[in-house]
Amino acid sequence: MQQDAIPISSILSLLTGDGGNFLGIILLSLQVTITAVTCAGLVGLPLGAGLALVRFPGRTVIIVLVNTMMGFPPVVAGLAIFLLLSRSGPLGDLGLLFTPKAMMIAQFVLVLPIIVALTRQTIEDLWTEYQDHMTSLGAGRLRSIPTLLWDARFSLVTTLLAGLGRASAEVGAILIVGGNIAGFTRTMTTSIALETSKGDLPLAMALGVVLMSLTLIINSLAFGISRVGARFSGKS
């Protein structure tokens, strides 16, 4: 009983302000994750749709590669980006290593394959339904991409949520490229990793609860919005 009470009081004391930059950690986490997923969506949705519709040699190989990349180990992705961004790496001059931008890049790289792969599947399925109609209207595969992306919008919300899930839960890559610098690149997940290894389990658990609550809220909102929208425009 005593044990159970600790995280709750920790959360309360954290939220009421004497936890220092706790709010900063949450905001940075949200900023990194949402930026990464937004960029990955902007790139990944058209890319996935293109991969679904455009026929070119090597397409199957790329599909298999993208599907494989969905399970890309974050620490390996982190290491690769670390090498790219490190002072002696090819992009070292940009000075991005150990900055929030580096973390966004890492999460972008991890989320992009998920969005591309799921979008490709969704759009390919929708295309089998729309193909005759679009061809009859004189719209080729490329010209059909905007139509298909718009008409698949409610399924694609789930795709973006899957990307968001991966990004918000991720710790390995951003720990490597961000460096977990207090007040600068420390996010909820990296804090949890740090506090756990320091032995401050109540704080780690409190952070975990906050992270999960935020994820729940974001998912509920997105799900609710897409459900209302789907009902409004007919069965998806």
């Binding site: 005759d132 009859s136 209207l137 139509t147 919008r153 425009s233 007919g234």
Partner: protein, 242 residues
């Protein structure tokens, strides 16, 4: 009768469609005359839908030619014809947006799209549904939307695959009325159907398919009173044959 501005009649010559060595479609000669109501009859699997899709350009034939009277570009041929599919494709949008989308794809400008959409919906009694999501409409309403949507593109030639299948008599009647309107407007209609009643009431010309072959093309009245082939006779008498 002959309209010198029309790309019709359409003449199909030696059309063959093969898949894995099987002949799916074999049409030595067929003429789709301008402003006629052409009805394609035949048992299931006779190649009726394939014939429509091939004429419409959705399926490239293995061999043979589809000729128009006027020398027209492929893009122009596309613009002057439209097709309504057996299972109407309803975009996940409002009824009005289904019209404006099709018109946008046909290259119609922003304001013109809305005007044509509203006009067409008013003509075919769909105005009340303009803002409803297309996919919650009933089967009959969806079919009417699909036909009106195709009609809004202003085609000379309209293909319809089983436009009244799986509809109740009232809805079928409404579809038939729409087809009459289009016919009066001078649209050449080519449709497949299983509904012999519809064929009798509606057709000017009958194309009878059997096992992928066009075996009879004749004036509707003659087809129903004195069919030339045994197969057609058996089909009209509802005797099953294969």
């Amino acid at each position: 009768m002959r309209d010198t501005t029309s790309m019709l009649p359409l003449i199909v010559r030696d059309l063959r469609l093969e898949m894995d060595g099987r002949i799916l479609l074999d049409v030595p000669l067929a003429r789709i005359q301008n402003r006629q109501r052409n009805v394609i009859l035949g048992p299931n699997g006779a190649g009726k839908s394939l014939f429509l899709k091939t004429c419409h350009g959705l399926i490239p034939p293995t061999s043979g030619r589809i000729e128009y009277t006027l020398p027209v570009s492929t893009a122009e041929v596309r613009r002057k014809q439209a097709m309504v599919f057996q299972k109407p494709v309803m975009l996940r949008r409002s009824v009005r947006a289904n019209f404006t989308h099709a018109l946008a794809m046909a290259g119609v400008g922003w304001y013109e799209r809305r005007r044509i959409a509203d006009e067409t919906m008013a003509q075919f009694g769909l105005s009340g549904l303009a803002d409803s999501p297309a996919r919650v409409l009933s089967g009959g309403e969806q079919q009417r939307l699909a036909i009106a949507r195709a009609a809004s593109l202003g085609p000379d030639l309209l293909f319809l695959d089983e436009p009244t299948s799986s509809l109740d008599p009232t809805a079928s009647r409404q579809i038939e009325d729409m087809l009459d309107v289009l016919h009066e407007r001078g649209v050449t209609l080519v449709l497949t159907t299983h509904d012999l009643g519809l064929a009798r009431r509606f057709a000017d010309v009958i194309f009878f398919f059997h096992n992928g072959r066009l075996i009879e093309e004749s004036d509707a009245e003659r087809f129903f009173t004195q069919p030339e082939t045994e197969e057609a006779k058996a089909f009209l008498e509802h005797r099953l044959f294969w």
